[in-house]
């Protein structure tokens, strides 16, 4: 069946009336190639169908939540069983204690857990806990990294006031000197350093953390009596079965988790060590659905699979197949790709493509051949991605490389992107 998008276009037309800009947030396709569908009808394993019934191998995994496959049976069964008993009741259920115990047992630094809904809830709570714990104000924040969409961290300035960030002080990721400088500037007033396990930002190559930086950040926090917050929302459980910086022997005081630990069911978490329990006990935060049992039951089952299954090895195998295959294809078609970050969370950009025109064209051609890649955001592999699925992706990308090569001189940059790219660079 030929690729079509008539139903999607009609829905986008309707959405423009009743949703600002037709869509908001990270799942808006306004900066994607024109062909990208905004609306989807279903998902199964690593496969996704848009509203026009085009089928894709989905390399975005819902922007992270899909870790074990859409509709993964054991997690869905646990969720259904809990939902039949009760979800958002007048108090939490036993699963909340079980989940807290389980999660804490898996994350070396953690002694306690709080559950919430959004990744932004988790990072924002961690910041407030650090301030409550230390009685200090400053949060040291790596320039240009995403920690959520609240006023203290959202990447777009509209509606945000200088006071919202009065005590956010910026350093450069992987640059210990800049972190030391920030500590010196805020002598005695640093509540916490916040960092992602690695740099996973839009429109940029991903950057691995240097061990020296991770270790040094921990030492600086200890020296100055500040807390270290590791923002695992995006990368958590895709790099490791525990804390992402455990490989460096670096333990944060607080960690923020979200997206995938209930395999798509809505829940996020703040985990903390004893060094942050007092602050967590003093502050007040809550949400109408934070104590709901269904996502907690889903999380318990997902964490069990994280501990007991070979999901990680499957993700790595599949991710490596894709990276190696693309590397060969690019070379044979005369292109060079920048494939950065762990293979489980690939960022794929074209070398010598400052306005992203080749990457966009390549993704659009791939899309229409049955694989959903993202031209500027890191992607996500799930354990439902088999080597056969990756071969399907590679079949699509090979033809897409040929199309880019053929059209090379005629390809224009994306107009919507060109309106915002200068501001982003």
């Amino acid at each position: 069946m030929a690729w079509t998008n008539a139903k999607n276009k009609a829905l986008q037309e309707r959405a423009r009336d009743v949703i600002p800009n037709g869509m908001y947030g990270h799942q808006s396709v306004s900066l994607l190639p024109d062909e990208y569908p905004q609306f989807f009808s279903r998902g199964r394993g690593c496969r996704l169908w848009d509203v026009d019934d085009n089928e894709y191998v989905d390399m975005m995994c819902g922007f992270g939540p899909n870790l074990l496959g859409y509709g993964f049976e054991p997690v869905e069964a646990a969720a259904l069983a809990q939902q039949a008993k009760g979800d958002a009741l007048t108090g939490p259920s036993e699963v909340m204690v079980e989940l807290a115990e389980t999660f804490v047992s898996m994350i070396d630094h953690a002694k306690w857990a709080m559950f919430c809904k959004n990744g932004t809830d988790a990072t924002s709570i961690a910041v407030v806990v650090a301030r409550a714990q230390t009685g200090r104000r400053k949060i040291l924040y790596a320039t240009g990294t995403y920690h959520g969409a609240a006023p203290w961290c959202t990447p777009r300035p509209a509606g945000i006031l200088p006071e919202d960030r009065a005590h956010i002080v910026y350093y450069q990721y992987n640059d210990l000197d800049s972190l030391e400088t920030a500590f010196r500037q805020c002598e005695g007033d640093v509540a916490a350093v916040i960092a992602t396990p690695f740099v996973h930002e839009v429109f940029r190559d991903q950057v691995d953390p240097e061990q020296e930086f991770a270790v040094g950040a921990r030492q600086l926090c200890d020296k100055h009596g500040a807390l270290l917050i590791l923002d695992e929302v995006r990368a958590g459980f895709r790099l490791a079965r525990g804390s992402s910086w455990a490989k460096f022997d670096v333990q944060p005081d607080l960690s923020a988790w979200g997206k995938c630990f209930a395999n798509g069911h809505p829940i996020s978490a703040v985990l903390g060590s004893e060094s942050a329990r007092k602050g967590a006990s003093a502050m007040f935060t809550t949400g109408s659905f934070w104590f709901a049992a269904t996502p907690m039951a889903a999380a318990i089952e997902t964490l069990r699979h994280i501990r007991e299954s070979d999901y990680m090895e499957k993700m790595i195998d599949a991710g490596r197949r894709l990276r190696d295959g693309l590397q060969q294809q690019a070379a044979s078609h005369g292109f060079t790709l920048k494939q950065t970050g762990p293979v489980q969370m690939p960022q794929i950009l074209f070398e010598d493509d400052p306005d992203f025109r080749f990457g966009y064209h390549w993704c659009a051609e791939t899309l229409q051949r049955g694989a959903y890649l993202h031209p500027y955001h890191n992607m996500f592999v799930s354990s439902a991605h088999t080597l056969a699925d990756m071969n399907d992706v590679l079949a699509a990308t090979d033809e897409a490389f040929a199309a880019v090569r053929k059209n090379r001189d005629a390809i224009q940059p994306n107009a919507a992107l060109m309106r915002v790219l200068p501001a982003r660079k």
Copy 2:
């Protein structure tokens, strides 16, 4: 079967290790009578079972989300059908457009909708939209009212900085003079006035809005070019099938919704008029699970019942039965109750009970006889509460009144409450 709480106590013991204070947020029982269970095993209709299998008529409805009954079949069927297709996919599903169209069609002022997870998301987005729309900073906020648990509004100061509230300016609810004074103080810099449809605060009588106040707030906003935000998170769809201030012919520019419009499935919303679309289009906000389809399918079905069923009349009938019955019982036992707010959202306090000792004792006695009342927070009626259920509540409360009367001189105030009450008053 006699009321017991051994299993609950054991779970609370375990929770103290792995959850700050053993529990956080509005569902913590730390300020409730000692008998109150922290953990529940299931819910059905208006009935709730704790982990020791004690059964209650639940007058809290999950603190609001339960509008049509726990496990209400038509909503659960819609949610299950959507969940089987897909929930948190790489983009939204068709139900997002359908939900936005439906919701907007039901709320007079609204022309667009954004969906999120927490009530706090909705109020916080409304504030940022108002600032983005007007290019102004000040938010006029009624002293002592709850609009969520983010730094700009959370009721407890730990971890919160003065800058978080640098541009929050307070007025007195129902006091137009104080609102005018606030406008004068912030001449030309008021982005929005935020208000709840009525005052529904802990430890206080509820207060109905005066028409003069609602109309006057709208006029002051118009005069000064500010937006009016109505925070419907708690009261929405319990007072009216549309906007809660429509009865005054007062339309806000922005309204925040949450809790009950998907009958317990996790979703909240900001609705806006054309006067706020530009600001909503300019700001950036998002969440990992905000585009998930299952709660949207549940919301569409819940909104259909709100439009087409007699759910409202059922809530009012049941609420009135309770209020009238309690009034008679209190009189016959020699007590006076302060029953405030709409009967669908009753607040029930004892007259001449400054440290709440009688209310607490009465609630504890009622609890052990099979009805879950709250001694300091407003309660919620659902359409699953029948007159027979309310008679069961009244049977419990009648015996509880007798117990309070009998023990009157021996009743002591709650120790945990006494540690925090002075700071609250």
